[in-house]
């Protein structure tokens, strides 16, 4: 009868700790509704792979390799960056670049809000090899697929913690951003109203926009072209107007299937012996640092611009220049209304938020360009 309990005796405290972490992620997904489509599969997967000789991942049993389905999925879809890129088609099809196209100058806030990524890279390089430092810094983009692609392309040995941190911080936008914004702005600044003049954008502009972005990104930082290209391909499906069924499929079926597989596959990298290290805590800390400095970079840049502008901008919109779309844009709008119930910042903050989507992908591409080809 020993077969009933012999595996139980092999259970380690580290594996039990991973069950607790998995449980916390499931709790956050269900009770707090934090990115449930990702945190729930990741949390469940963390429990699944942390059993002694778990059949879900590759194991050597008596010297013989037993292939696990999650390792196979990882090899098929994450090791070659396929899943995150396919997910980008769905994200692109969901994105409405309208607010940005009506006011393209908002693009500069997206660039400013990537400050945290590059600053954190400098900090992380004091502790980690350069490829790992660049991958860890990309967590600050609050863009899971980009973080995965960068970590994978740069052969980071910390893919698991990076993925978990990137997706967790995406979910924590409503908790992390408001205090940073309040700390850096005065009430008077938060009350600045911004006029919005509704303009129409021609269909041709909407169609040409994704093509132009792909060409520009491809010419300036070729390493980013797959990231930008897949995002823009999804957007072109939506805007062309003749492929509505494909656009709908990309937005719902494709995005849902990839998200489902991605979440549980990420968990294959959460085996206790790899995950429970001091390095993981450090990565989580640096990811948070990057995220905070991205927010601060956007706000401070807007304040800097206000020194020269006659018509002031509300500095809070700078914080929306991260990739977490549309969460960040909505939070800025909500914060504006809390200060002044007639202050409608939504269209401006959404414009900055979609520019953050593009900017974070380009920032990831620049990181890859720097360290794949040795600089540009």
């Amino acid at each position: 009868m020993s077969f009933l309990y012999e595996n139980l005796l092999l259970l380690t405290w580290q594996q039990v700790t991973m069950w607790v972490i998995g449980g916390i992620l499931i709790y956050l997904a269900i009770a707090k509704e934090m990115e449930p489509s990702l945190l729930l599969p990741i949390g469940f997967g963390a429990i699944l792979v942390n059993m002694p000789f778990s059949g879900a991942v590759n194991q050597y049993v008596n010297g013989i390799l037993q292939e696990g389905p999650l390792t196979s999925l990882y090899t098929a879809g994450i090791a070659n960056e396929l899943f995150p890129l396919l997910l980008f088609i769905g994200i692109g099809a969901m994105c409405d670049f309208g607010p940005l196209l009506t006011n393209p100058t908002l693009m500069i806030f997206g660039a400013a809000a990537q400050f945290g990524i590059f600053f954190t890279f400098c900090i992380a390089s004091m502790f980690f090899p350069i490829n790992d430092a660049a991958s860890i810094a990309t967590i600050g983009a609050a863009d899971g697929p980009t973080a995965i692609v960068v970590a994978q392309v740069l052969h980071s040995s910390y893919l698991g913690p990076i993925m978990v941190a990137a997706y967790s911080y995406m979910a924590l936008v409503p908790i992390i951003q408001p205090p940073v914004i309040r700390l850096l702005t005065t009430k008077k600044e938060r009350m600045i109203r911004m006029d919005y003049e509704p303009k129409t954008v021609s269909r041709l502009t909407r169609i040409i926009f994704p093509i132009i972005i792909t060409i520009i990104a491809g010419l300036i930082s070729p390493a980013s072209v797959s990231l930008v290209g897949f995002l823009m391909f999804g957007n072109l499906l939506k805007e062309c107007g003749v492929l509505n069924s494909l656009s709908d499929a990309a937005q719902s079926a494709l995005a849902n299937v990839i998200t489902l597989i991605l979440g549980i596959t990420i968990a294959s990298q959460m085996q206790a012996e790899q995950f429970l290290q001091m390095d993981t805590l450090m990565i989580l800390g640096l990811g948070l640092f990057a995220f905070i400095f991205d927010t601060a970079g956007g706000v401070l840049f807007a304040k800097f611009l206000n020194l020269f502008l006659k018509k002031k901008v509300n500095p809070m919109i700078g914080a929306a220049g991260i990739s977490a779309f549309p969460m960040s844009g909505r939070i800025i709008h909500k914060m504006g209304l809390e200060e002044d119930n007639q202050n409608f910042l939504l269209m401006h903050s959404m414009g900055v938020n979609v520019s953050g989507q593009i900017a974070s992908v380009i920032a990831g591409g620049l990181m890859m360009s720097f360290f794949m080809y040795g600089g540009f």
Binding site: L100, L101, P104, T105, M107, I108, G110, A111, A112, Q114, F115, I117, F118, F119, F121, C122, I123, S125, M126, F127, F128, I130, A133, V201, S202, R203, L204, T205, I208, F209, I212, I213, I216, A217, I220, S221, M278, D279, M282, S355, I358, A359, I362, A363, L366, M367, F370, G375, F376
Partner: protein, 44 residues
């Protein structure tokens, strides 16, 4: 994990290159959009 504080200074140029690269790239995209909006103004 080793602590090498000199790497912070050594890698600061990447902060400048990265932000400069981003501002240039997004600046070009913004200019392209302004041109597109001018060219196709009033078209459906």
């Amino acid at each position: 994990m080793t602590f090498s504080p000199e790497n912070f200074i050594l890698n600061l140029p990447y902060l400048l290159k990265g932000e400069l690269g981003l501002f240039c790239e997004l600046g070009i995209i913004a200019l392209s959009v302004i041109v597109l909006n001018r060219l196709f103004k009033g078209e459906e």
